[in-house]
Amino acid sequence: MDFSLNEEQELFRSAVRKYLKDLGGTGTARATIRGDDEPARAAASGLAEMGINAIPVPEQQDGLGLGALDLVPVFEETGRVLLPGLQLETLALAVPLITNYGTEEQKKRWLPLAASGESAFSVAWYETGRSLFPETFACTATRIDNRYELSGVKTLVPVTGSPDLFIVGAEAPGGTSLFLVEASEAASVRPLSCLDETQLPAELSFRNAHAELLGEPGKGQDMLREALLHFNTALVSGMVGGMDELVKITAEYAKIRVQFNQPIGRFQAIKHRIVDMKLDLETARSLSHYAAWAVETGADDRIAAVHSARSFASRAYIKAAGDSIQIHGGIGFTEELDCHLYLKRARYWDHYFGSVRDSRKAAAGSLGWHARQTADAAPVS
């Protein structure tokens, strides 16, 4: 039994953490909020130089061919400082999609760019008024000879970090399918105001955009669901990183802030609330690490593992951020402290490609709870 990250992974974490700390911690996120993307861009390059982009990319495409566990420390540390950028979308969603479903040519073209950090990718999936997995999309792709032309409007597409490529969901002959569309093909990009100002979601419109089919037609939802196991694992690492920092700053504050002649951490209302944050953090961390292991090893319970981590961490992160504000009191309600940045990020991530309810449903389904049994008792309800 060894339920821990290995030494290499922990060493890599230390390096990433130190690098991001030296860049000013959440200062990079605050620059993005002020409209200055340069620090986030520089951080992305620096991280790529450290090799984080190569982690999930197969060796044939200039990557390291490593698994989900190796990304855990990376996303915990970028989550800790709320780093803006497309690392999550590129490395944990687009790369698994292209790796698993792309043609040799598509892999050869795009994956080396991801591995080196030269390109960032994004996913244009959501449409206004539609759920995450709607029966159909309004956005359509028409086949013309050997190519596809894609038209329609996508919303909530992350464009911070200047993606070169979008993976777009659209209706095509055969059903909902995935397409590779280069950024230059977008007819318009309208930035949307966002609660989490470190994010830059946009409304994208396409008019007869040149689109390449990714994987089989009609399998768009299945492919996305599978790739979301990678995505959710990485996302939860980001949440754990944020929660870890929240517990740290909140406990520190409770030790030094004095009211009624006592450090407030002496009051059980404060102390026990921080303990509950810590319990949630450790539970989220355990679930998160196990999810990464399950994804990496293809364990039987990987769907339940990933979605348990996601559903738990989603709410726990929101709660931890809210509690950190309360414990900091007035100053916690100011723009000056970071608490609210974590709250806003926690909300941004809460429904990002799935809700708590979605994850619970997925876990239940994967565990076979709905396979009918012989009823051996019958209650009144």
Binding site: P134, L156, L195, F260, I325, G329, F333, T334, E335, E336
Partner: protein
């Protein structure tokens, strides 16, 4: 048990309603409720509204008629709050003056103070702010460090105040300062009526996490006050604070009615927003959560009614009124957490890109302030535990 209004109360409400329909800023009732951005225009807008209220006789209804009030009953006061919430009236820039300073001066001010301030408060000539909290004295006001020292017949005041509402618009401040160090911590505190328009007073806005700047830091550097600016006795400011709290008979009427209104807005959203063509209220989890909030928010409102009934019967508020603040502020947080959640990923949008013009997002963020300001939920729970349930006093109290 009776929830109906008397004829007199109905007449009062109708009079107010018709006055509001004529006098609210143009387009207000129809939803054009944006306040000016620049400090000057904002200040002018609020002062104009304060003035209008005064001219209509609606600025200080609970004051005695002798001072220009209406000598309103408690029920009328409650109706007043209810109507103001209903029309989402502009903020009352002189809230501190009308609800705190003037009633205190009426009770314990000198004739000179009454003369100098009460009418100016009523007309809105003097806008007041409240100088209580300090960086190291938030929940624990006895820890204030701002010091007033007497020198050459004048009080020289140094220190820092924080969370001072409307300070950037205010002419005067109802200021707590330490004039002595002896004995218990709540001794030696004095209330000053401080002129804000002097060199030693500097005001800086605090940017809140919801982007607004409703509060200020106030830096006092050799600010000056005089003996005649002291309310009550020197060193006995704590008893002034207590007297002031006892004036509060309508409790948190405005917050209760606001919460009720906010619930209706969230319910409206759940009925009108659709996902895949279906109103989201058809999701049983959303229906269930909304019904839960309905029950608890109704409960908070009804608690308030029970407390008001108690006040009406006993002439003064019972200790139960301290439950209201805790419940209403915590429920507000839950309501908007729910409102955020049910919007799905679209809930991360803000402003004009978000459903309902981002009102939910904004109120969600603002809701975190309500369980901190005016006594944190932790302090409220201590108060309820000790005053209502008679549990032993906490550490350091």
């Amino acid at each position: 048990m009776d929830f109906t209004l008397t004829k007199k109360e109905e007449a009062f409400r109708d009079e107010l309603r018709s006055w509001l329909s004529v006098n609210l800023p143009e387009g207000w009732l129809e939803g054009k409720r944006t306040l000016p951005e620049s400090k000057e225009a904002y200040s002018r807008f609020l002062r104009d509204w304060q003035r209008k209220l005064y001219e209509g006789g609606w600025a200080a209804i609970s004051w005695p008629e002798a001072y220009g009030g209406r000598n309103a009953t408690l029920m009328e006061e409650i109706i007043y709050h209810q109507e103001m919430v209903r029309v989402k009236s502009p903020p009352l820039v002189n809230y501190v003056g009308i609800h705190m300073v003037a009633p205190t001066l009426m009770q314990m001010g000198t004739d000179q103070q009454k003369e100098a301030y009460i009418e100016n408060i009523l007309t809105g000539n003097h806008v007041w702010s409240q100088g209580y909290s300090e960086p190291n004295a938030g929940s624990d006001l006895t820890a204030i460090e701002t010091a007033a020292v007497k020198k050459d017949g004048r009080w020289i005041i140094n220190g820092q105040k924080v969370w001072t509402s409307f300070a950037h618009l205010a002419d005067r401040c109802f200021l707590l300062a330490r004039t002595g160090q002896s004995g218990k911590k709540h001794e030696g505190i004095t209330v000053f009526l401080l002129d804000m328009n002097q060199e030693g007073v500097e005001t800086r806005p605090i940017t809140q996490m919801d982007g607004r700047e409703e509060f200020n830091e106030v830096y006092l550097t050799d600010a000056i006050a005089h003996d005649e600016d002291i309310v009550g006795e020197e060193g006995k400011g704590w008893s002034v604070l207590i007297a002031l709290m006892l004036h509060e008979r309508s409790g948190i009427a405005a917050e209760v009615f606001t919460l009720e209104q906010q619930f209706e807005e969230v319910a409206e959203m759940a009925r009108t927003l659709t996902s895949d063509g279906k109103p989201i209220i058809e999701d049983p989890f959303i229906e269930d959560g909304l019904a839960d909030l309905y029950a608890r928010i109704s409960g908070a409102r009804l608690n308030y009614y029970r407390n008001i009934t108690h006040t009406l019967k006993n002439g003064k508020p019972g200790p139960e009124s301290s439950l209201d603040k805790l419940l209403v502020s915590e429920l507000g947080k839950e309501l908007f957490d729910f409102a955020m959640t049910i919007q799905g990923h679209a809930g991360v949008l803000a402003g004009g890109d978000a459903p309902f013009d981002g009102a939910m997002q904004h109120q969600y963020l603002a809701s975190f302030g309500a369980t901190i300001g005016g006594g944190t939920s932790e302090v409220q729970r201590n108060t309820i535990g000790e005053r209502i349930l008679g549990l032993p006093k906490d550490l350091g109290r």
